[in-house]
Structures are given as structure tokens and as C-alpha cells.
Symmetry: C2
Subunit: 220 residues, 2 copies
Amino acid sequence: MATAKGKKTRVSDGVARERLLKSATLLFTRKGYAGATVREIVAAAGVTKPVLYYYFRNKEGIYLELMRGGFSRFDSLLEESLSVRGSAADRLTRLCTQVFSLFLDHIDVARVMYAIYYGPPQGAPFIDFDAYHRNLQDVVRGLVREGIRKGEFGKGNVDDMMWAILGALNVAMESRLCQPGDAVDQDGLGRVLKIIYRGIAPAGKRDPRGSDVRGKGGRK
Amino acid sequence: MATAKGKKTRVSDGVARERLLKSATLLFTRKGYAGATVREIVAAAGVTKPVLYYYFRNKEGIYLELMRGGFSRFDSLLEESLSVRGSAADRLTRLCTQVFSLFLDHIDVARVMYAIYYGPPQGAPFIDFDAYHRNLQDVVRGLVREGIRKGEFGKGNVDDMMWAILGALNVAMESRLCQPGDAVDQDGLGRVLKIIYRGIAPAGKRDPRGSDVRGKGGRK
DNA sequence: GTCTATATTGAGATAGAC
DNA sequence: GTCTATCTCAATATAGAC
């Protein structure tokens, strides 16, 4: 990230950039993409307009950078989950836990995404949120399928299992967005997933409740 | 509403009113609450401004009427579910099915609600969506508790079970909002709920109807 | 009263000095 | 990299003709 030449600057490289990203997130959240003005964003960041244009080209640029930051990490998680080894349940839990963790770490950016996705048109550049949603679905579906193939899960409708799992992840995230007080945390998500694994276990092989409550995977 | 003809109405009572509600829903969905002008709404409904004023007083009035329409039915469902008899699972499924049905019947109003809830401030009158969400949580939690008390569900964290069930309902609704093509339908929701009932069944006992989690879709 | 032309504002964006 | 100063443009507001 730092410039190769190590040129001296008034503030160290990227500080203003980070401040801008932060203030843009805050203001996009509070007033929407259209409602947040470049003036407010730079004022809140304690810099002047040209600084924003220097780093991000324009208002759309800083918005896209926000989105890209979140989604690139998300893509990494999906990719990583394909190479990780372990039981299907462990891999699913790992994936959900990591996605949830990413969500919690950037919940303010997530709010902006939700507002753009569900909210009215605001002139923001198009982001194909549905594609990311489908990617997650595909990965989860693949892991479920593998679990069935290995006999870890019972035979049944793969999509039903996928929806049950995504429902757990989804409700955890949205409970955070909606009621930060009484919401689902990482452990809660892990426990809800356990309920689902038990529900999709093969007919004869249901392990007793709470036989493995750890979220990091039973054996490693 | 006043069916008495105190005023001169050119169309039969309620027709213009319904047309206004429909066009307002459409325009609130497309352009947001703030973006939809009274002019457009009445034009789309084929009536004149005074007609809107007569039925709804103003833009806020027609918006509140939309919200009230959805939520009053929702409240009825919650209330009704308290008096219905049957197993906890049946009552939970019945409640979720009915809520989902209500959602599907008024999915365009639901879109407006989502946009207001998650979207940026648009100057719309405040609606306490969180309260409705909490109400649903409370009813589901109560039904889960009863299921545990009657031995239908195993002992365990009541909230975890509640979140699993709400996750299923939630993901069904949002899959409809997001990807109308490949979404969850009533049967799908029922099957996902079965998975969860199995997952929260008492340790030794298998839910008779949940013994087959296979849906008609099979593997996809 | 309503309409239209003009003024004003406030938005995003840029040039060039340092 | 950052600043001061400025530009363009569209929406809004207003004034004055009709």
C-alpha cells in the first residue's frame, strides 16, 4: 500500500484515505448514498475535496472501494472454504462463522449494502449483490452435497438443507443489524447450526444434543 | 371507512381508494417514499389530487394506511396462533405458513417496508417495525417453550430454537424478494421447518413425520 | 391563478500553486 | 498529497407577465 518511493508527505500515506473511507461509510449509512454529500464526507474526514478525488476519482469511486473491500474478503472466504479439509459440518460451520465474523467486523459497510440493496434507487453504481448471494448459495450447496455423499448428512433435498443453513446465518446477521442488544452472537450461530446438522443427519445417526458444542470444529 | 355519501364521488365507493393504494405501493417501491410524488400517485391511479386527500388526507396518510393494512393482518395471525390447538410443531408451521402467505399476498407492500426499514431516511412517518419483529419472536418463543414443556422438543436453549425457526421463515421471505425465480415456496418452507423440528426433537425420539426429510425435489 | 423566464443555490468535479 | 479557488450543471425558488 505504501508508495514505493517513500516520499515524505504531510500525513503518512493512506491515513487520509482511511479516514475518508470511514467517514463515507458513516455518512452513507446515516443519509444514504445520494444524501451524503462529498462536502460532508471530506469535512467529517478532516480533509478537503481534492483529497477525495485524488484517492478515489469521485464519489462513485469511494463507494465502489467500500463495496470492493467487503466483497474481496468475502470471495477469499468462499475460495478458502473449498480447499479446507474436515467434515462437511465443520467446513460449513467454519464458513458461516467466518462470514459472520467478516460481517461483524464491517457491520457499518453491511448496513450501506443493505440500504442499497433493499432501499430505493439512489443513483449508486450498480453492484450485483445477487451474484454474491448466489455464490454463497453454491458453496453451501456444494458442502451439503459432499456431506450427503460422505454419509454425514442424510439423503434429502439439498436445497432445503442449504436454505436451513443460510437461514441460520442470515438471521444471525440481521438480528445484529436490527437489535444489537438481544442478538445472535458467534456462539449462538454455532448452536443454531448444530440444530440444523442434527436435523439433516442420516436417519440412524443422530448424535446426542450438545455432544460437540465447540464452534471451531470437533477435531483438528 | 365512510360509505355514506357525504361527498360527491364519481366512482363507486372504494374503487378509487384501492387504485390509489395500488399505485402508491408501486411508486413507493420504484422510487422510494420521498421520491414518489403525490402527482405521480394520483396520475397512476387515474384520479385527481382531491380524491387522495379525501381518502387519506395526504401522502403520509396513504403510506400509513398501507402499513396498517399489512400489520393488522399480521397481528391477527399472531393472536390467532395463541388460541389454535395442536402440537407445537403444527402450530409453529401454521403460524409460519400463514405469515409467509400474508407476505406473498402483499409482497409489494413488503418491499416498501424493507426499503423503509433498511434504506436511508426518507422522511416517512415512523413505524416501529422492530416491535412487530419482537412480537413474532415472542410468539415463536412461547410455542417453542410449550413444545419443550410437552416433551415434543428436547431441552435446550429456547432462543436457539426460535432463531432457527425464524431463520427458516426469514430466508423464505427474502429469497422471494431477491430471486423470484429460484426461491423458496410454501412447501419448501414446510420442509425446512421439518429439518429444524428434527434438530430440536428430544434426544431419543424421532419426529414421526420428520423421519423423511426428502422433498419432492430430491437432489438437484 | 398559472405559467414561464430568470436568479439562486448547492451539488459534484477540477486546475494549478505549494 | 494537499490546498485555495473556481467551474459546470441541475434542481429549486422566485418574480413578473399573462
